[in-house]
Amino acid sequence: MVKALLAELELRKGELQGQVVETIYLGGGTPSLLGDEELTAILDTVYKNYSVTEDPEITLEANPDDLTNKRINALSNSLVNRLSIGIQSFFEDDLKNMNRAHNAQEAKDCLALASRYFDNITIDLIYGIPNMSLNKWQENLEIAFGFGVNHISSYALTVEPKTALDTFIKKGTFQPIDESLALQHFNYLVDRTAEEGFIHYEISNFGKPGYFSKHNTSYWQGKPYVGIGPSAHSFHGTKRSWNVANNSKYVKAIQGNELPSTMEVLTTTDLYNEYIMTGLRTIWGVSLDKLEGDFGILYKQHALKASKKYLEKGLLSISCDLDENQKPIEKLVTTQKGKFLVDGIASELFMI
């Protein structure tokens, strides 16, 4: 597999056409399988075939059970400068319920250790787990703050159809998700992280100034990216492509010097819809000037008309910033009250 990843990196070196790589993200299950040398090989291949900026953000995603003492040590000597750790919870029963491989102690130990070597650490935390009292959620957050993390990605537990959790809930062995509880946790999360100096810059992401995920922010701002590996997505302005999900099909194709990917060309409407969807999730919102400039007056009018009822209900608001030239820019943003309903709102603003 690693060989295939390296080969794909080489195969696609022309794709960025000299654009500078600003961030590298090693995620999606692979990093825990990578040996130290393999990691080095991957990063070396990137550097060899692409032009990388002077101070790139290089994130590695890992679970606490992968981050042994030795591993963290090795990582600190690599080019990786940001760790994303899938903590999920600092409590044993939650971890069991979510079928996690690590336990509560491992979560704390690894975070303690990692924060000695890394300044830029983000952790995942899950809330809205049935039976999780507000108290316990509060404690989870306090523990995280205690380790001095500068970034938190926090997700409400969602039950995807046909997963183990879904079956448990249907069978009655697990309590169904309580949306009001999740909302309560979310509101607390937003307030408490703000007190700690975090900025809620995307629905699920909280970072102190200077610690936002540059990589993820690029996704929401429509920057181009190259995704390597099975089922990885790539994006270039109006073209999105994705590799086959099947591992062996992927490896086989790459061995034959072929990129097993499917591409779609996004129409103006697709791009508009994506901008609405991602914009409403972030503090940068949906710029009315950009709507008019990039998509045209009809799109802007459509968005304004469709947002009317949400503006009235206080789920959306129009705020006004000054740009670098002190020119006012108006943008549509989701209010605190609207955030938990943002999918439905975005869908209503879509153009079909």
């Binding site: 809205g128 995307e202 929401w220 309903l341 439905g344």
Partner: protein, 612 residues
């Protein structure tokens, strides 16, 4: 003397070489495919014209693989050195169109009875066979699809022999797929089906068995001349409607129309008279000469009566006029659709429509969407009831709409239409089918073992029960091994109540349904549950109640939506999520705002599928 004799001989020899036949079968047993093969084999289509299901020329027919309209075509075939004219009529298989089938049958002397060699005899095989026998048709049994690995030729031949009392040798083995046996079929058509009888010298008497709307030329009327002949420019009269026309063009139906000067007794053809509305051409009506009319209309004419009624409303109230125009256009080529304006407190202005049955209703709805780009809401369908009030117990009040039912306090009695249902199933499923029919208020009248494994069951049942979720459940309880057919047998007294639905404490008239009193409690409960499933959650709680009069019989609540947000939205999630939200938005286009609740289109039909 001599001269006359010669002449009639000449005419006889013309009729002698005509064969008029139809294809009858249970749905999917292969009528249309076999018709294609007959056309190929007789060279009636060129290679360029060839395509599957050639006669099913409506998009909907091709896509769904069903025949909705009858189709007629003339073929020529030389047999033993003599040239024959073969007029073939492909008929719809579905019970909704059984009247049309009966008129096509009446236009023929023979029928190819097709039986699928894997499926054997099914309900419509039998009902269509009876229709053919009533009309004294020569039946040519055909064992079709013998190429199928699952074909069961011996057993199915036995079934056919049992059914018809014919000789096993008379059953022709064939495959519409491979073309096997087509020559034998053509030979049998010529040798076994009698030539038409009729007198070309009598006044014109022709049976209308179909009509097709042509936007440029008006209605094309398809007929079979029984006696006399029809000539270009002749003044003709349609007996049932009493209207006179000039035959601007007459001709025979090849793949394209083929104008002629005259169509004589025994033959099949079309006439164009400049009629602009399908309504004026009634299937089953008789065409005669306007000046020298026949004394006898062809028997069997009926004004087709709609069996099922439902409201059709535009999703967007502004589209009412456009919907009217579309319905009018649709009616031009489907005379069996009837409609009149009605209004609903919940849905505004729309139409109460009458359909031949549930398939017909579906077809109309679908044609409105694809041919006219109209998104519509169809309300809960109901049959036509007769209500009588205490004040005037002899006067029939026709109830085609739940809101027409008189107030229970003044109601004397209600009658509902009954049907005789024929169900053929495997012996294993008899118990299940019986339970279903009894649950549906059916009374078993007959049970016959066709073979040791196949049973024919007859029930008297309220038609209303067929409308409500019958086909799907029959399929389920019989694992697909049941076929079904019915015909109306009149009105019987009934205990009927109107179940109303309230959303947010507001009655939504378009969701009201007429239901037998004994089932009302249960159906009211299921309706609430079903609506809870179908109406998307909104930002507030929505109580759903079912009520009979002022009495609430059931209640559910759609909980407010508190969380509607995707946790992760990175890389590949973005396009996945966009597509999902786009789909959601499309779905919303089909929703109707009633009060402050958005109701999806399909919720209005929810009561039909309470068991899904």
């Amino acid at each position: 003397m001599n001269y006359i004799c010669k002449l009639s001989q000449g005419i006889n020899s013309f009729m002698k070489n005509i064969r008029n036949f139809c294809i009858i079968a249970h749905i999917d047993h292969g009528k249309s495919t076999l018709a294609d093969r007959l056309l190929d084999f007789t060279g009636s289509v060129t290679d360029r014209e060839k395509q599957d299901q050639l006669l099913d020329n409506m998009d909907l027919e091709r896509e769904r693989g069903i025949t909705i309209k009858s189709h007629a075509i003339q073929m020529e075939y030389t047999h033993k050195g003599e040239q024959y004219i073969l007029n073939l009529i492909d008929t719809p298989g579905h019970v909704d169109f059984s009247y049309e089938v009966s008129r096509s049958i009446a236009a023929c002397e023979g029928a190819l009875l097709i039986v699928d060699a894997a499926q054997s005899i099914q309900a419509q095989t039998i009902s269509n066979l009876y229709l053919a026998l009533e009309n004294d048709l020569e039946i040519i049994p055909i064992l079709n699809k013998v190429d199928l690995p699952s074909a069961n030729p011996e057993e199915v031949t036995d079934d056919i022999v049992d059914l018809l009392g014919c000789d096993p040798e008379e059953v022709i083995h064939a495959s519409g797929k491979t073309g096997f046996g087509v020559d034998n079929i053509l030979e049998a058509v010529i040798e076994r089906i009698p030539a038409p009888k009729g007198n070309p010298d009598e006044p014109l008497q022709a049976l209308i068995f179909d009509s097709v709307y042509n936007p440029f030329r008006g209605v094309e009327t398809y007929f079979r001349v029984i006696n006399g002949s029809i000539k270009k420019n002749q003044e003709i009269k349609f007996i049932a409607t009493g209207k006179n026309y000039y035959a601007d063009e007459v001709g025979t139906l090849k793949l394209k129309q083929f104008p002629r000067q005259e169509i004589k007794a025994g033959d099949v053809g079309y006439v164009i008279t400049g009629i602009k509305e399908a309504k004026e051409v009634k299937v089953g009506d008789t065409i005669t000469d306007a000046k020298n009319p026949t004394k006898n209309a062809v028997s069997g004419f009926e004004d087709v009566k709609p069996m099922v009624f439902a409201g059709i409303y535009p999703v967007d109230t502004e589209d009412y006029e456009e919907l009217r125009a579309s319905m009018e256009k649709l009616q031009l080529n489907d005379a069996s659709l009837i409609f009149s304006p009605e209004s609903s407190a919940a849905l505004g202005f729309g139409f109460r429509c009458g359909f031949l049955g549930m398939l017909h209703m579906e077809i109309i709805q679908e044609r409105l969407e694809r041919e006219f780009d109209m998104t519509v809401i169809t309300t809960v369908p109901n049959v036509s009831y007769h209500a009588f009030t205490k004040k005037d117990p002899d006067e029939i009040i026709i109830v085609n709409n739940p809101s027409d039912l008189p107030d229970p306090s003044g109601l004397d009695r209600v009658e509902e239409p009954y049907i005789k249902a024929t169900i053929i199933t495997k012996a294993d499923f008899v118990g299940n089918v019986m339970s279903l029919c009894i649950e549906k208020r059916g009374m078993i009248t007959n049970q016959t073992y066709l073979t040791t494994d196949r049973v024919e069951l007859n029930f008297d049942m309220p038609l209303a029960e067929i409308v409500f979720d019958f086909y799907d459940r029959l399929k389920t309880v019989s694992k697909g091994y049941a076929s079904f057919d019915y015909h109306p047998i009149g009105m019987k007294s009934s205990k009927l109540v109107r179940v109303d639905i309230l959303l947010n404490a507001q009655p939504v008239d378009a969701l009201s349904a007429l239901i037998h009193a004994d089932n009302a409690q249960y159906i009211g409960k299921r309706m609430c549950e079903k609506l809870k499933e179908l109406i998307p959650r909104q930002q507030f709680d929505i109580p759903i109640q079912a009520a009979i009069g002022a009495k609430i019989i059931s209640r559910e609540t759609i909980k407010a939506l508190r969380k509607d947000v995707t946790a992760k939205c990175y890389g590949g999630d973005i396009s996945r999520k966009r597509k999902l939200l786009e789909k959601q938005k499309k779905g919303k286009k089909r929703m109707r705002q009633v009060g402050n609740v958005e109701i999806p289109q399909q919720a209005f039909m929810a009561v039909l599928k309470l068991n899904d």
